[in-house]
Symmetry: C2
Subunit: 399 residues, 2 copies
């Protein structure tokens, strides 16, 4: 596995076990940028915010943030005043061992909602975490942020003199008991905070908001993009020749992490790529694509490799977007399964369209393409099927 | 089982097998009101409409409709011009055997989306359907409208001189391949169409729109309320003394049918009643209640009898309604599991609140109560859990 966040110069990282997880697996992670590192953040839109989300958002808004500490095991959400105080204690302890001003330490948490952070264990593990900090700590960092993830997720890209790295965790954009989507992307370019925020918004946000496991937005989702400047190339911004390639590299890392997240979604057996075009706007296209991707009837049909175009039409029609049913075309893979809102009789014929659509659905990744008219709006969403294992993971394992 | 739609005077009904269902079960149903019967209709809001929905809606808008023919097996949705022609042929044939003007015959269909209606079989069975029409045909009617329903659903109520009856089918408000929610309510009161429309809107719509199995709105959902006037009491309307009790009886029948629908939802093991109060408006409360009831994480938690208050808070926070997290209180049954947006530490303690919440969740029906502030908005939604059987029914049984 690749180094991930420490692939670019100017970053050290570490991950250790504080003993919070009963398994003894690593559960405390730290990523520290060189002095002068800039940061941009994307945060959950859930109205119920975890304490570390509020803390990190405030610090970034105040122009601070060169490092982040992550604890896994408790989400530190729905924990009230105590949770806010715990988050402050954690960043104080982490800043001390990292040797940076406390206001530059950001925080992320992931795990059970409502349960207080195991603060004594976390604080006690801080010296070990600081001692482990190093330029090859990216892998340990990626391991320590996992909860129910089955594999650690890292990605790397290069662009001329620049390197970009990343790590992520999560079994979706969602909040099962022990999961939240966290992603960390680093680069050794020197980027001003405003430009970095634009980069995060334009190149990373579309990649992560296009993911859906079950349509549920976590209380803790966070994406942080750090730029250390350690490549020693001087500041780079949108007016510079190198910018576009750097932005591409950042997006490449984001896309690679997003793809790893959906492939590790809870109970996933098939990844679903939903492409919508011809909508009145991109926002409308996104609404339709998410309606299709999140429909339990479409998701179970994908699980069963049953193309079932009626369910896709149902989801489009109920999405709330004003579409003309007679303009809706649907393809499963390359096979047309609805044309002008009508499922062709050939679909139901023996050895008809249905057979080829079924074959497309038996692949590990299935494309559902929907055209809803002649409008300019388009969107792509990455989802997954709804399997017995999803029900087992979320229904059987009480925590 | 009760007679249902033929409990009130002035209605005849029948159900026969046209041979469309491979099982040979009844699949063609007819309900005919006495001359002068008035009608009100509630229809799906899906943009993709089944042909019979369009036909019935147009006739009711034109002031017509004293009878309805229902075929189960094909939904006659996404069938284009051919589907519209098929629907017209079915009502012509049904009106002929019922001996009424063709414009007074409404239609409903339920079954596979996209597959053309088996028209020859349906038309050929019409004489037998007409011959079977009788004042004791309510039970056969309820049987013949079933698709994947495991039990027929009927209800009755009385109010002074008036009787109210009903029949329904559906495993939710949804469109699995072989399901759509259809409900038929009859009364022998004489009610003007405008008053009947008001009654349907005020007393039946809230009962049926409060149901959710998986948040998917069918292309075929229809509720029809017929008033025959055969009780011979003269017209009754909102200004009359008897109106309130009649409206209560109509609502009682609607509520009984809705409860039967959710208890027969696909894969249901536990019925979930979500009550939301204190929202800015009733609509906001409904949005929050549906977000909680439809959340796959809440639904699997209910399946696993895991109170998991963090998932409920997550669903409220992500509902899109602007709520203050610090004002959110949550109860599972009578047990408080979140107060002011915080899950109390007592919840996680051994022998704490969690134990009593778990016991409440092991009941066949669980109440999830959410207070989100001091606003006047409130809503109740009936949902159900997400079980292995739901995945099996919708994933394994390709059709």
């Amino acid at each position: 596995m690749s180094a991930g966040v420490t692939f670019p110069a100017g970053f050290t990282a570490a991950g250790v076990s504080a003993g919070v997880k009963p398994s003894g697996a690593a559960d405390l992670a730290l990523l520290v940028g060189a002095p002068g590192t800039s940061v941009a953040g994307l945060f959950t839109t859930n109205r119920v915010l975890a304490a570390p989300v509020t803390l990190s958002r405030e610090r970034i808004a105040a122009g601070r943030g060169t490092a982040v500490v992550v604890n896994s095991g408790q989400a530190n959400a729905a924990t009230g005043e105590r949770g806010a105080a715990d988050a402050r204690r954690i960043v104080e302890a982490a800043a001390a061992v990292a040797g940076i001003p406390v206001d530059d330490m950001l925080a992320c948490s992931t795990g059970v909602i409502g349960e207080p952070v195991h603060l004594p264990e976390v604080v006690e593990a801080m010296p070990a975490l600081g001692a482990a900090l190093g330029p090859d700590g990216g892998r340990a960092f990626a391991d320590a942020i996992m909860t129910t993830d089955t594999v650690a997720k890292t990605a790397e890209a290069s662009s001329g003199p620049y390197r970009v790295g990343g790590a992520a965790k999560g079994v979706g954009m969602i909040s099962p008991n022990l999961a939240t989507m966290l992603a960390f992307v680093t680069t050794d370019a020197a980027v001003a905070p405003a430009d970095l925020a634009g980069l995060a918004h334009d190149r990373l946000k579309p990649r992560f908001t296009a993911l859906t496991v079950d349509g549920c937005t976590s209380t803790n989702d966070t994406v942080l993009l750090f730029a250390s400047g350690a490549a020693d190339q001087g500041p780079v911004g949108p007016a510079d020749r190198a910018w576009a390639a750097l932005a591409d590299a950042v997006e490449e890392v984001g896309a690679a992490l997003a793809a790893q997240l959906i492939r590790d979604a809870e109970g996933v057996t098939t990844v679903t790529l939903v492409e919508v075009e011809g909508a009145p706007s991109d926002g409308d296209a996104r609404t339709i694509a998410k309606a299709v991707a999140d429909s339990p009837l479409v998701k179970t049909a994908v699980f069963g490799s049953d193309p079932n175009p009626g369910r896709i039409l149902q989801a489009v029609g109920a999405s709330g977007v004003e579409v003309s049913p007679s303009l809706i075309d649907v393809w499963v893979g390359d096979t047309p399964v609805a044309r002008g809102g009508v499922i062709p009789p050939a679909y139901f014929a023996a050895d008809g369209l249905r057979g080829s659509a079924e074959r497309a659905m038996r692949e590990p990744e299935v494309l559902l393409r929907v055209r809803v008219g002649e409008g300019p709006g388009r969107s792509r969403v990455l989802g997954c099927d709804l399997s017995y294992a999803y029900v087992e993971i979320n229904g059987e394992y009480t925590t």
